[in-house]
């Protein structure tokens, strides 16, 4: 197989990964890494470099559509960005010091867990209306356009949310993913931010966090242009078409099936990491 053929294959694989990522809400980055390592035999460091770039592209592409709706909370996002960008630097520093097998195992666990969360569609956590001193003094409370006019909401448990965001950033820097699942978890569950606000703010943050990780990986030589090219273009194309499908509610069952497939990929990553089969 020559470079041109390999490029075509990874492009179509990336379209599929982007499509799946948008459909399950996991993001293309977390799906492209097992695909590249397990199916194409790419070293996990090159896979991470290519994935993190495509994470930025999908985040920015989706943000253009999101911001017009006026859901995202820029103050909250920027405040939590302090945690995720420092976390990303920390994660990227850890990635350089541990073996690729350990990265594969951690990746598998995160992948499995993220897919599990996406498969269960629990009702979003209830919003609380009690004032929170920290949120109040940091002006984190906001308003979003609801069906019957503007709805105001309050943010809670800032220290817990901030810590979870540091974890999300660390995972992003360590594994080259957007960590969307952990970000939504932090805002939705811990901080009681309304679901629509937490998903759009999370998307805003994913691009910024990924930019911090990608910068480190670029300087470290993990981003191979010839591999990142088909991956980035493919994931963007796939996620654009996938986000259109997401609107229909009939896709719930399909989402479950895909989440199951992704969980299997997670287990395979763990297995390969433990047995050391990722080495050439």
């Amino acid at each position: 197989m020559n470079i041109a053929e390999f490029c075509c294959l990874t492009f179509f694989g990336s379209v599929a990964a982007g499509f799946l990522g948008a459909l399950t809400g996991l993001g293309g980055g977390i799906i492209i890494i097992p695909l590249l390592t397990l199916a194409f035999g790419v070293d996990i460091r090159y896979a991470i470099g290519a994935a993190i770039v495509s994470v930025i592209a999908t985040s920015c592409g989706a943000a253009a559509a999101y911001v017009k709706e006026g859901f995202s909370n820029i103050r909250l996002g920027m405040f939590l960005e302090m945690a995720t960008t420092f976390g990303a630097l920390f994660g990227a520093a850890v990635a350089a010091r541990i073996s690729t097998e350990s990265i594969a195992v951690i990746f598998g666990i995160v992948l499995f867990y993220s897919a599990l969360i996406s498969a269960r569609d629990d009702a979003p956590a209830a919003t609380k209306d009690t004032p929170d001193f920290l949120a109040d003094s940091l002006h984190l409370d906001g308003i979003y356009p609801g069906l019957a006019g503007p709805v105001s909401y309050r943010v809670h448990h800032i220290p817990t949310g901030f810590s979870l965001m540091f974890l999300a950033g660390t995972l992003s820097g360590l594994l080259g993913i957007g960590s969307g699942a952990v970000k939504v978890l932090a805002m939705d569950r811990a901080m009681h931010v309304p679901f629509k606000v937490s998903t759009t703010t999370s998307n805003f943050m994913i691009g910024v966090t990924a930019a911090a990780s990608a910068s480190v990986y670029l300087n470290r030589g993990y981003i191979d242009p010839a591999l990142a090219m088909p991956v980035m273009l493919g994931v963007v194309l796939g996620s654009l078409s996938g986000s259109r499908v997401l609107i229909s509610s009939r896709s719930r069952h399909i989402r479950r099936i895909f989440a199951g497939v992704i969980m299997v990929m997670g287990v395979e990553m763990i297995y390969n990491g433990v047995t050391g089969r990722l080495l050439p």
């Binding site: 197989m1 020559n2 470079i3 041109a4 390999f6 490029c7 194409f40 035999g41 790419v42 070293d43 460091r45 090159y46 770039v53 930025i56 592209a57 920015c60 592409g61 943000a63 253009a64 911001v67 017009k68 995202s72 820029i74 103050r75 920027m78 960005e81 302090m82 960008t85 420092f86 990303a88 630097l89 990227a92 002006h139 409370d141 308003i143 503007p150 105001s152 691009g207 910024v208 990924a210 930019a211 911090a212 990608a214 910068s215 480190v216 670029l218 300087n219 470290r220 030589g221 993990y222 981003i223 191979d224 242009p225 010839a226 990142a228 090219m229 980035m232 273009l233 963007v236 050439p280």
Partner: protein
């Protein structure tokens, strides 16, 4: 009252930011596509070896090196330049947010945004390596 006013100006800034992000993705994707074309025409028939990690050569790791390679129209250099532009897009977004907080005279968030921007620029110039 204060909240309402900031919500309205937030919405206007949001729209500008949305357009900025879209433009960043479209322009960088096009550059990556052109670079990819150049690369495949010249090297498409060679054999790939991504299963062995060698790391990129030093000129594809730094901003100056990428600019030099891209200006000589090396396929990989042009792709890397497009990717660099893509990485810069969210950073520009953060920089733009500083401006919006300056307009709103929100000192706390000017500080917060500067911290985030500093971390991003630190890692971009190779500080996290």
């Amino acid at each position: 009252m204060n909240h309402k006013r900031s919500a309205i100006s937030d919405a206007r800034i949001d729209e500008t930011i949305g357009n900025l992000l879209r433009a960043g993705v479209v322009v960088s994707s096009l550059i990556v596509l052109v670079g990819g074309g150049l690369y495949l025409i010249r090297h498409g028939t060679e054999l790939p070896n991504y299963h062995i990690f060698l790391g990129e050569p030093s000129d594809l790791r730094s901003i100056m090196g990428i600019l030099k390679d891209a200006s000589s129209f090396s396929g990989r250099g042009v792709i890397q330049f497009g990717l660099l532009l893509l990485i810069a897009t969210p950073i520009m977004r953060v920089a733009f947010t500083v401006v919006s907080f300056v307009i709103q005279r929100d000192r706390v968030y000017i500080g917060v945004t500067f911290i985030v921007l500093a971390v991003l620029l630190f890692s971009l110039v190779g500080g996290g390596r």
